[in-house]
Structures are given as C-alpha cells and as structure tokens.
C-alpha cells in the first residue's frame, strides 16, 4: 500500500470513526435525541406540489441553511426562522393559499362547495382543513387545531365576504404554522424496553417518507401510523417496500443527490461570457439535470453498482449541453437524448460532467484546488483543512517565473510549507482534471501551452481526466461516503458515536449487496437505528401526556 493511500485510509477511519469490524448481527445503537427539523426549500416545494399539484407556483427566498456533515438537510435540524425568513414564508403561504382556492383549482382541491359562496360554511371548511391539515402537519389535527382553523376561516369569510378567501386565510395560517414548517418528532414509551422511549408512529412515518421520497407521508403511510401498525416490523417492511417500489423514490433520491452534490449552488453559477460564450443559465440548469438523470439511470433503472456513476460513459444531453460537450443534439421537442461518450473520450463519469467541473471552478478559469477539494469533501467525505490565515504570497508573485498553466501556478503550493499540507490533498487530484476548462469544455492547452493533466488520488495515478472516474471507483472512501451521507440524510443529523459500528456494518452490507443503492436504502429504512431515539431530559410531556392528534 502506498504511503498516500495509507494516509487516506487513516483519514477515512478518523472521519468516520471506524471501529473494529463487527461480526454477527446488526450492531445496536442508542440514537440521539428526537429532532425538530425545518423543512428545506426542496422539501417545502415537493410537499406543496404533492398535496396541491405541480401547477402551484412558489416564489420567494428561503433563509440559507448551514451545510452540516455535507448536507443542508442536516443543517435544517438546527435552523431557525428569522423575521425576514418568516415574512417570506408568510408571503409564499398567502400566494399558495390563494392559488389553491382559486376558481381554476378549487373544484379538485377542495372536497366540498359552500352552501353560499359569500358566507361562512363551517362544515365545508372543517372537511377541507381536516384532510389538508393532516397531510400538511403529517398527523391528524387535534380538535383544538381544527376548531381554530375553521374559526379563522369563518371570521375571514365574514370580513371579506367570500368563503374561498376565508378558506385561503385559514390555509395560509396552516402553511406558516410551526407544525407544518418544522418536522417535530415526538416520543412515546417503548413497550418493549422499560423506561425507554421510541419515536411515535407519525415521527417514524415522517422520517421514512422524507428519507425515501423527500416529502411528507402520504395518506396510506399516515393511516398505518394512525392505527399504530407502523410499529409492527411486518407493516414497516411492507411500507418500506411500497415506498421503494414507487416512482416517487426517484424524486426522493434526486433530492438527496442534489443536496449531497451541492447543486443548490448551480442556481447562481455564472461564467464570463467573453471567455466562455457557450455557457449560459440553460447550460447550468441542464447540467444539474444531466447528472441527476445519469445517476438515476445507474442506481435506479439499472439497479447498478453505485461506483459506476464515476465511470459510466452513458448520459443524457440537451441542446444547450451539446454546445459545451460539442455533441450535436437534435431533438425536435427540445428535450433530452440518451448519449454514450465513445471509448477514448475523456468524459468518464459524473466528475467529468459540467455540473462538477464548472461548478467547482472560477467564473473565468478552472480551479484544480476547488475541484480537488470537492472530490475529497463531497464525493469521499474527507475533510480538507481550512487555509491558514497567514501565508507568504510573495512566492506566488514571482515575475521572473511566469506561469502559463495551472500546474505551473500551483507548483509553489507544494513547496511552501504553509500551503503544502492541504494542497497535497487537493491539487494532485484537481490538476488531473485540467483537460476540462472552467465551463466544462475539453481542452489540451492553456494560453497556448500544452497541459500536463496527470493526476493522483490516494495512490491511484492517472494520466488525464479520464482517469478520475476509475480513481474514484476504486477508492473505498467513495461508497463509505455514500453510506455516511445517506444515513445522515435519513436521520437529519450527524451520526453519533454510538452509531459508528452500525455505519461500518452498513458499509459491509453495501459491499455485499454489490453497492446497490436501492438495497442500501432498504437496509437503512428497515434498520432500528434510523428510528432509535433517547429521551431528552427536558421533554416529558409527550410521554406522560396524551398522544398527539387525539387531544
């Protein structure tokens, strides 16, 4: 084993806290305290589309989340709602409510018509809020909650002289309620472990649904939660398999990879129009879609080996992408076409896609350092230390040694001690990707000088960018990283110490299953670890009080 690989494996062990390999059954975990996560923007949008339809438009800006353990979803577990953020959510809520109750939509979104469109109809309002509120709050509304929503709607109807405007007011209130915006997990006494607690069935349903579908539980999942059947392993298995077999699994998995790959940054990706005239907003948006389509094809449709996403030549292209990839895309409908880069083409795997190479570059040039950092942090879950605050940059500015290529410019990183530690982690990887420019286009020279695009990743040497995919595929940190991120995503938190053995167990299972993502999702979703919770010291009411939805 090379020294570098040894260092990499040590880093992997440290970052995941790997303990001795476990034998026998599934290692037990104690979990962490139940959480209260804020809906992320993609989840919010997905829920609204699922409940009210894709025709509902949502404008506005969400408060930014802090990426934690590589995921915004994990950051959502500590996120607050600021006054400005609530103002935005309130505006969105009123807009959504107005659309739901509009003449175009009310016939199929509201289960009843008022006796008089100008007057309150508490019965019809109650029916609407009962059904819609259950989906929004991920549990049945309590009598108090239902009464309150109806009262708001009745009063607003009287004030505004319109039943539907009154209904919209009540719905807007639900859409800014903490019961909707936060996924508040509750616990109940665990009948199988005296003195211990477990997530209540609604919280379990929510964890499962957000994990696999990226959205709220549907009617059936809520129904088995309400009956308590979800606590039974057989029913849990049935529901997990139902969710895994649903077409909505793809939407959920897309949200996960979108989060893991930092694709929210694509929305504000810009390139210099003079240097990269072929790049556009359409290219950026389609680049995101291209990679997600490619990943879904490998891990869902083919049910293939996850590591193949790093080496597949098969992908999907649109017209705007064709201009960057220099591939003619002629689809009369302006849509997507399947495409396979030929043998010998350096486009191998998602790390060579525009969504990776352009995203981790500057506006007017590539960046081996940013790319190397992204490979390590995003795809391998390794931590690249922060740059030191005091660096002697005079060595970078030597006018006697003009640098033409990135390799020449970055050479000083490897000889300047303050830089070398981190740049040895990033630059050898990123320099191997220099045959792709800052917009994601192939090239062989920079400023007229040939590019030496040899690279190295944890002991795996490669001669040009075509080698980055195989280097990733063979790196044991890549599947381990996916395990870590998926489990974090499922629990919306960073794994805790008592879960280390379990994560190692998952890695082994993933490998035994041929690195099939669907099997890994099932393993996580059926495992007790994903739902394990500890009783928080200051939270006793739910255990001692009445179950929610029943008050």
């Amino acid at each position: 084993m090379s020294r570098v690989r040894g260092v990499a494996l040590l880093a992997l062990a440290l970052s995941f806290g790997i303990l001795a390999a476990c034998g026998g059954g599934t290692p037990a975990t104690r979990g962490a305290e139940p959480g209260m996560r804020l809906l992320t923007e993609p989840q919010y949008r997905r829920i609204i589309a699922d409940i009210f339809g894709e025709q509902i438009t949502i404008g506005g800006t969400f408060d930014p989340l802090v990426r934690t353990n590589g995921l915004l979803t994990v950051g959502s577990s500590d996120a607050h709602i600021t006054p400005a953020g609530l103002e935005q959510l309130d505006r969105m809520a009123r807009s959504i409510a107005a659309q739901v109750t509009s003449e175009e939509n009310r016939d199929f979104l509201i289960p009843c018509a008022p006796a008089d469109a100008l007057s309150p109809d508490p019965q019809c309002a109650r029916l609407f809020f009962r059904d819609t509120g259950r989906l929004l709050y991920r549990r049945p509304l309590s009598k108090d909650e239902l009464d309150a929503a109806v009262a708001v709607a009745d009063a607003a109807t009287t004030e505004l002289g319109s039943f539907h405007e009154g209904l919209a007011a009540g719905l807007a209130g639900m859409l800014i309620s903490p019961s909707f915006l936060f996924v508040i997990e509750e616990v109940e006494p665990d009948p199988d472990r005296e003195g211990a607690v477990r997530l209540d069935a609604y919280a379990k349903a929510a964890r499962l649904s957000f994990f696999l579908w990226g959205t709220s539980p549907d009617d059936e999942l809520l129904r088995v939660a309400e009956s308590g059947e979800l606590h039974a392993p057989r029913m849990m298995k049935k529901q997990v398999d139902r969710l895994l077999d649903s077409p909505r699994l793809e939407q959920g998995l897309r949200l996960f990879f979108d989060d893991m790959l930092n694709f929210e940054n694509i929305a504000r990706l810009e390139k210099d129009a003079i240097i990269y005239p072929a790049f556009s907003t359409a290219v950026a948006n389609d680049a995101r879609e291209q990679t997600l389509r490619t990943m879904m094809d490998v891990v869902l449709r083919q049910d293939g080996d996850y590591r193949d996403v790093f080496t597949t030549r098969k992908t999907f292209l649109s017209g705007p992408l064709g201009r960057i990839y220099r591939v003619p895309v002629s689809r009369p409908d302006g849509g997507w076409m399947e495409y396979e880069f030929p043998e010998g083409d350096p486009r191998v795997g998602i790390a060579t896609h525009i969504s990776f190479t352009a995203l981790h570059s500057h506006a007017g040039r590539s960046s081996p350092t940013l790319r190397g950092k992204a490979i390590r942090e995003i795809l391998l879950c390794q931590r690249v230390p922060d740059p030191p605050g005091t660096v002697d940059f005079s060595k970078f500015n030597d006018p006697q040694s003009p640098a033409h290529t990135a390799r020449e410019r970055l050479t000083v990183h490897s000889i300047e001690p303050a830089c070398a530690g981190c740049h040895k982690l990033t630059d050898p990887v990123g320099l191997g990707m220099e045959h792709i420019d800052g917009a994601g286009q192939l090239r062989t020279s920079e400023e007229g000088y040939p590019i030496d695009a040899t690279g190295e990743l944890d002991g795996f040497d490669f001669k040009d960018v075509a080698g980055i995919g195989p280097a990733l595929r063979e790196n044991p940190a890549a599947p381990a990283c996916l395990v870590n991120r998926l489990y974090s995503y499922a629990t919306a938190r960073t794994p805790v110490r008592n879960e280390r053995k379990y994560l190692k167990h998952l890695e082994h299972r993933f490998e035994d299953d041929g690195f099939k993502v669907r099997a890994l999702l099932r393993e996580i979703a059926l495992g007790e670890a994903m739902y394990a919770v500890r009783q928080p010291a200051a939270r006793t009411a739910a255990v001692n009080g009445s179950p929610r939805g029943k008050s």
Partner: protein
C-alpha cells in the same frame, strides 16, 4: 432608474387627509411644518428626530499605504489617498478608525470570515461557520426597531442572497434581498402605504392576516411542551418572528405619518427598458445595482419603513470580476504580481478604488435626502467595515472601519481615530451606545471591551 422628486406636502393637506380618514389618528409627522424652528426636533414634543442605524460591507479591505494616511494619535481630519479619494467629499460626515486590532486568542484566522464575525459580534469564531453571538445591527434593532414596518432590511448588490453579514447565530441568518427588483418589491411593492396620500384606509386583508397570526400564536404553549430545551429556543425565535410580523401589520394598519422626505422610487428597470436589472458579479453590474439599491435603501429609511439596515456591496471573498478576465478580485489579491514602481497590485487596487467609490455613492444616497434642517445622513449612524486589513496576507489587525453620519448630533465627525492596538470591538461598542443600546461591555475574551471611544462623542 430614477427617484421621483418629493411631492410637496403642506400642513393643510395633512390635516385634510387626517380629517378625510376620520377614524384614523395620525402621529407626529416629520414635515418641516411640524419641526421646531431649527428643524432638529419635533415641534410638538421637542423630541429629536429619530436616529437610524445601518451597516455597509465591503470585501477585501484596503491597499495599505494607498487608502488613508495613518496617524499616530486621534485628530481631526482624514487624509484620503487615491483609493479613498471619492470619500473626501463626505469627510465632514465620516470618521475613520485605524489601528484597532482583532486578537483571536489562538483561534484560527478563518480567512475572510473571522474578521467580519469578530468585528460584528465581538467574538472570534471557533469554526469556519460559527457566528457566536448576534451581530451588532440586530442588537441595535432589538432596541430601536419597535414600531417599524421592518425590523431590518438586508440587501446585497453582489446578487447572492446568503451573503448577508447580519445574523442572530450560526443557524439564524436571513437571506438578503439580492436584486434591485426584490428590494423594491419588498419595500415599495403592493403593501407599501404612501405616507403622503391623503386617502388612507386600513386594508381589511391586513386585519384578516392579523387574526391568522394570532391563531398561530395560540399554538405556542402546546408546541413548547413537545420539544426539548434547544428546540424550545428555536420555537421561541419563531414566535418572536411572528410578533414582528404582527408588528409589521400593526404599522400598516396605521395611517403613516406624512413625510416630506419620502418619495416613492420608480421600479428598477434596465436603462428605462422593460427588463430587470442585469445580475451577476461583473463589477459594472455590481456597481449599477448597488447604486440603485442604495437609493432605495435610503428611501426606505426616509419613508420610515425601517430604522436598521444592512447593505453589502461585495462579498467577503469578493468574487467581482471584469469581463473577459480570468482573475476575480479575490484571486488578484493573492496572485497578482505587485507592480515594482507602484508598490501594489494594480488591478486589485483598481477593484478597491471602485469599492470605495461605491461607498461614497452609498453615502450620497443618504446625504441627498433632505430631512429637517439637514439631510437624512445627519440622523444616521452607518457602520462600514470589511473583514481584512490587507487581503493579500489576510491580516485582521488594523481592519479599517468607517462611520458615516452624525447620529442626530450625538457624535463628532471628520475624525481619524487611532486605536493603538485596542480591540476593534471598541468601535462597535461605541456605535451601539450611540444608538442607545444599554450596554457597557461587549465582546468575549481579548475582544471584550468596556472602553467607549469618547473622542467621538458630543
């Protein structure tokens, strides 16, 4: 875009408006007709005109030796060098604070992060994302913003909503308005009540919204019972946000005070065309958007929409760039070879010059609005800071800070204040005290201070 000239409003028209809306009471207006003879206070009560607070942020500091001539002791007069020459026209409204340090007590200098966090929160971060305490603008807003439509208005000209250097904590950071259109829509959109209109009628929908919020508030007790201590704090902040939204509605249900200074700007448009302003990090785009947003922000203050704001010109890594050039402002500060004759990095310096020119433009926006006997700027305290002294080496000692405005006559201006290595938190502490925040000590560890900069106090 253009800012419409204020329409003349007379005492008679105000009274007619008040009588027209018989059930609507009006509170004291800022019309000259209602000010004392010197135009410095409200005639009815003698209360001074309100003092408002704002911050202005720019990334990547100054070019040492080419911005402000250093001094050895605090004195009147600021000697502006090339980079800061555009500010000379505002010298009498400015203070410059140099030589204040940022001791990190062994914590890492997280590049382009520790600097702004420490100067705005009084505490050095212990990670590259930690915001250990509320930023000073929010402490001021907690004290003075009650009754305003917006507690704060945050905007950024660089087009990135998350580049907002105002936060209550690491996980409580609002998005900034990232385009002129969004800023306009939020402040002067359909919910804006023109204070100089005489036919004000409370919007029934606002009343309905108030009852909706009231119903949400009723959930508080039950929800707090369901969560642990840490989450309880987050829910409390949510309900604080609800109360602020209720306050916003209350403000909109009252007839706004007639306000001669308030002129509703026209909606931003690209060169008068029916298109949105261009977006992006090209420096000319940032400068153009910043100019429009500065005028809107100043008018938002003049129109009593907020008493506190945060304006960002460039982000802390300043990704600004010139068309067709491969280096961004930030990359230039590290990789551009200094010119041997000039002694500095010429293109990075050019960006710094554009930045200080933008700061002068920002001050213009407040100075050009008449309020009372002077300008809106007279009743402002603007805290302008960056995250580094010299970006090339990421130094955080001697980070330059300006204040603009006389804070309603509470501070002297035109001073160059010398810090002699004192913690930079002295500037923030003094700013908050000037704004009336009851605070005598601010900051943690070596950044903690209770030393007001008395030299600037009147």
């Amino acid at each position: 875009m253009s800012i419409l000239l204020p329409r003349p409003v007379t005492r008679r028209s105000v009274l007619r408006g008040a009588l027209g809306g018989a059930t609507i009471g009006i509170s004291l207006p800022f019309l000259d007709a209602f000010l004392n003879e010197s135009g410095t206070a409200l005639a009815g009560t003698g209360a001074p005109l309100p003092v408002r607070f704002g911050t202005w942020y720019w990334g990547l500091g100054h070019t040492p030796g080419h911005a402000i001539v250093p001094k050895t002791r605090t004195a009147e007069g600021i000697e502006f060098l090339t980079e800061c020459l555009p500010l000379k026209r505002h010298e009498k409204h400015l203070n410059f604070f140099g030589g204040f340090n940022m001791p990190l007590d062994g914590r890492s200098n997280y590049t382009h992060f520790s600097g702004w966090v420490a100067s705005r929160t009084g505490s050095a971060p212990s990670t590259n994302s930690e915001i250990p305490a509320p930023t000073l603008d929010l402490l001021v807003a907690d004290h003075i913003a009650r009754g305003s439509r917006f507690q704060t208005i945050d905007a950024t000209a660089c087009g990135i909503a998350r580049e907002n250097y105002s936060a209550r904590s690491t996980n409580s950071r609002a998005a900034a308005e990232a385009s002129p259109e969004r800023l306009y829509s939020r402040v002067f959109g359909v919910e804006f009540a023109d204070p100089n209109k005489t036919d004000f009628k409370p919007d029934t929908r606002m009343m309905v919204r108030r009852s909706v919020l009231s119903a949400v508030t009723d959930e508080r007790k039950a929800l707090l019972r369901r969560v642990g201590t840490a989450d309880r704090q987050r829910l409390d902040e949510y309900f604080t946000s609800i109360r602020q939204l209720e306050g916003q509605l209350e403000a909109q249900l009252r007839k706004p005070e007639p306000n001669q200074s308030c002129a509703i700007p026209s909606a931003p448009r690209r060169d008068g065309a029916e298109q949105d302003m261009p977006q992006g990090l090209e420096v000319d785009t940032v400068v153009a958007n910043h100019k429009v947003m500065s005028q809107m922000m100043a008018m938002a203050v003049a129109c009593n929409q907020t008493k506190v704001f945060n304006m960002v010109f460039s982000d802390n890594f300043s990704h600004m760039r010139r068309p067709g050039q491969t280096y961004t402002h930030h990359l230039l500060t590290h990789e551009e070879t200094p010119d041997k004759v000039l002694g500095y990095q010429p293109v990075a310096f050019w960006f710094n010059c554009r930045t200080m020119d933008a700061f002068a433009t920002f001050i213009d926006a407040f100075a050009n609005i008449r309020e009372g006997a002077g300008s809106l700027l007279d009743n402002m305290l603007i805290f302008a800071a960056t995250e580094t002294n010299y970006a090339r080496v990421h130094s955080v000692d001697g980070v330059p800070v300006f204040t603009a405005g006389n804070a309603g006559g509470r501070i002297k201006t035109g001073l160059h204040v010398v810090g002699n290595g004192d913690p930079i938190t002295r500037v923030g502490l003094t700013a908050m005290q000037v704004m009336g925040v009851p605070i005598d000590t601010w900051g943690t560890r070596s950044l903690q201070t209770s030393k007001t900069i008395t030299e600037i106090l009147v």
